[in-house]
């Protein structure tokens, strides 16, 4: 019975979090998030600054440890599923003067599959080239990354994620600071991924475009405000709750929790 239940889980639910609380630098940023995402969805994660959007993604990726609750991907603990999950960090988080070419960066998408000691082979190069083709960046494959525009940088990151050949994609603000051509490339790419049965979560900032871009929205402001199809979630009252008056008492308490545990640390050491 257990076996059937498990396989049932892994086909129905791509990502599930249960009572997920995440703290950043000892200060809770997300409280008790319960989410279950079904396959083939394009989900926008939205909320004001400091709502915990990036934190949620990082927790799902296993880059931050939850303070409580759990995260499952395809019915298994998230840290065991790294090969099936792909992450697109914010563009400004790396040094774009680093001495690597576009191709080098895209090949890094294969490293998770290669392990520590294996080098990328012919097959990996082919996959990387295909990924570059999907974002129209083949002509730039040999360029050093410092010669790229913002939109091109974003496309390189997307190509690296595509090269991972994952089933679940988590993207942190891929639309920030890109040109119109890149924006439409990204949209096209997201739609292609979705029609191949992939699931995509995108942290997004811009309310007006959100409606057209996504199937579902996850409204976040330290707590989960709403999660569901765009038509149901994109409502005045829900948006007001997410963006309007912040949960003042919650954030004040979080602040104090952070302060207190810092004092604890210095007292104990």
């Amino acid at each position: 019975m257990n076996v059937t239940a498990r396989s049932q889980d892994s086909t129905d639910i791509v990502l599930e979090t249960h009572d997920l609380t995440v703290a950043y630098d000892k200060k809770p940023v997300l409280y008790g998030i319960d989410v279950a995402v079904t396959p083939g969805q394009l989900v926008g994660i939205m909320g004001p600054n400091g709502a915990g959007k990036s934190t949620l993604i990082k927790a799902i990726m296993g880059l931050l440890d939850p303070a409580s609750g759990w995260i499952q991907i395809f019915g298994e603990p998230n840290t065991t599923q790294r090969k099936r999950v792909s992450y697109v960090p914010q563009r400004r988080e790396v040094d774009w003067d680093f001495p690597v070419t576009v191709m080098d960066v895209v090949l890094m998408g294969r490293y998770g599959h290669l392990g520590l000691f294996r080098r990328p082979g012919k097959r990996d190069r082919e996959i990387a080239m295909e990924a570059l083709e999907k974002v129209n960046m083949i002509p730039y494959a040999g360029r050093q990354i410092s010669n790229l525009s913002g939109g091109q940088q974003q496309r390189v990151f997307l190509a690296r994620a595509l090269a991972q050949e994952a089933d679940l994609y988590l993207m942190d603000e891929p639309f920030v600071g890109v040109d119109a051509a890149t924006e439409s490339t990204i949209i096209q790419l997201l739609h292609d991924l979705r029609s191949n049965g992939k699931t995509i979560l995108v942290v997004h900032h811009d309310l007006p475009t959100a409606r057209n871009y996504f199937d579902s929205l996850l409204l976040l402001n330290m707590r989960m405000i709403a999660f569901g199809p765009v038509d149901e979630v994109f409502r005045e009252d829900l948006l007001q709750r997410a963006y309007g008056g912040r949960l003042t008492i919650l954030s004040e308490v979080a602040e104090e929790v952070g302060e207190k545990s810092k004092v604890d640390v210095s007292a104990s050491s």
Partner: protein, 493 residues
């Protein structure tokens, strides 16, 4: 790009050759001879004859490998100050290691120094975590305090009676001649470890250096790799102390890697170039201090002269690097300026021809000069550029200028760019017709062929610019006899 790659190859080979030459031309020198010329000393030094000098050179070789490889990662990970701190923080460990055996026993010094280095770096991250202070302040503080402690202990030891403390000051400025066999073994061992680590783990090291967060997200052991690098860095620093000195270690660690950073766009070539530079700087530095010693008759520290050699290579790269080099940037700017002058002159000749409906091929230089409100000499100077590029010829003692077919073609292209751009600005960007000239003056030189065709399609193949002048068509910018242009000009009116 191919040219640049060749340039790199050439530079590397050249540096390599420079270093091999003395071995092949090696004459039958006897080391007891008193050399007079620097050249002879050079041969003696690099001929591997003298066992003491062989020690020095082998030491420099291993040290160069260590510093070139690890320095590259230090530079691209923006940890230069970390390396600097490490090299200063090991000093008290050296002193305590010495106290332990009361001699320059390499193993106890290695142990003491490594422990002190690890303690220093641990202290930095502890300060960072538990106070508001940021990394740079924590590093600076630990660096200075540990170094001060080391200086105090060493000075105390030097005051002790009946201790063989000769050469303790080498740990400040370095003395490659003092390298013992034990030191060489440790340097060699570290070099083998560093090569092994980088050869085996190059892909994950590259990924974690470029994007830590992503590397962790695909499951690479980012922290482990970082600690491995730091451990090797500590080891490389400690074993090099004797040769370079605590004060100069960071120069040898960072300068060759920083130089390589200017010369390449791939991490693996950077590793190679940094290593070669570090080896060569170390050897040349040791050589110069050896020559200087002969001149001033007392031992000179090797660390500073190695650091100076590395600095000299950096200066060379700064001026001559094909990517960021000062000279190349200057040349690029110069040739751009020249190109603009050529094109503006062509345009002036074209306008003068147009003014007279292309009836005459020759344009008097005098009218060009008065049109441009400049002296005949200045106009001549500009026209000479056209002649040199075979775009025009001067006749009648330089009084009349004729455009060659190539020149006419090029001129039509520039005028076409200019007028299309003016039209685009007035039609599509709502500029007034009298506001567009200055912008078109700049843009005409940089529009690419496909952009021009795009503009033309967009403007529906226009024939006249906003001032009512004819825009040369694509056919005009290809080879055309002059009478065709004259015919068109007449047809327009």
């Amino acid at each position: 790009m191919v040219v640049k790659a060749r340039f790199q190859m050439f530079a590397v080979v050249l540096l390599g050759a420079l270093f091999l030459v003395p071995q092949t031309v090696e004459a039958a020198k006897i080391s007891e001879l008193v050399e007079v010329h620097v050249g002879e000393q050079f041969v003696r030094f690099f001929s591997f004859r003298d066992p003491a000098i062989r020690h020095i050179l082998v030491g420099c070789f291993f040290m160069g490998i260590n510093f070139g490889l690890l320095g590259t990662f230090v530079v691209v990970r923006k940890m230069a100050l970390v390396g600097d701190t490490l090299s200063h923080a090991v000093l008290p460990g050296v002193a305590v290691g010495f106290l332990f055996t009361m001699s320059k026993e390499p193993w106890s010094i290695l142990l003491g120094a490594t422990l002190a280095g690890l303690l220093g770096t641990a202290l930095v991250s502890w300060i960072k975590r538990s106070t508001k202070l940021k990394q740079d302040a924590a590093l600076g503080m630990v660096l200075a305090t540990f170094f001060a402690l080391g200086v105090c202990i060493i000075k105390l030891i030097e005051g002790l009676p009946s201790v063989n403390k000769s050469g303790l000051d080498h740990f400040f400025y370095g003395q490659a001649a003092a390298l013992g066999t034990g030191d060489l073994w440790m340097m060699g061992g570290t070099a083998v470890l560093a090569c092994l680590l980088i050869a085996l783990l190059y892909p994950p090291l590259l990924a974690t250096s470029f994007d830590q967060v992503f590397a962790r997200s695909v499951g690479l052991p980012e922290r482990l790799l970082y600690h491995l690098l730091m451990f090797l860095l500590a080891l490389a620093t400690v074993v090099a102390l004797q040769a370079v000195g605590a004060l100069m270690v960071s120069a040898m660690l960072i300068t060759p890697a920083a130089t390589a950073y200017l010369l390449t766009k791939r991490l693996h070539t950077m590793l190679l170039i940094a290593t070669v530079l570090a080896i060569v700087s170390g050897m040349l530095g040791a050589f110069f201090s050896f020559v200087g010693e002969g001149l001033v008759k007392h031992a000179l520290p090797t660390g500073p002269s190695m650091a100076l050699c590395a600095g000299a290579f950096f200066l060379l790269a700064f001026f001559f690097s094909p990517y960021h080099g000062f000279l190349f940037r200057w040349y690029r700017k110069f040739s751009q300026t020249r190109q603009i002058t050529v094109e503006n002159t062509l345009k002036a000749v074209y306008r003068a021809m147009e003014l007279d409906r292309f009836k005459n091929e020759g344009i008097p230089v005098k009218s060009l000069a008065s049109g441009a409100r400049e002296t005949l000499e200045a106009t001549h100077k500009r026209l000479k550029l056209l002649v040199r590029d075979r775009l025009a010829t001067l006749a009648d003692d330089g009084d009349v200028v004729y455009l060659t077919p190539d020149g006419l073609q090029h001129a039509s292209r520039v005028v076409r760019n200019h007028r299309l751009w003016e039209l685009y600005l007035t039609n599509e960007a709502d500029y007034d017709a009298d506001h567009v000239h200055a912008d078109a003056e700049k843009v005409e030189h940089i529009l690419r062929e496909e952009q021009v065709m795009q503009l033309e399609r967009y403007l529906d193949y226009p024939e006249q610019d906003p001032h009512g002048k004819r825009i040369p068509s694509l056919r005009d910018t290809q080879r055309l006899p002059l009478k065709d242009l004259a015919g068109k000009e007449d047809a327009d009116t």
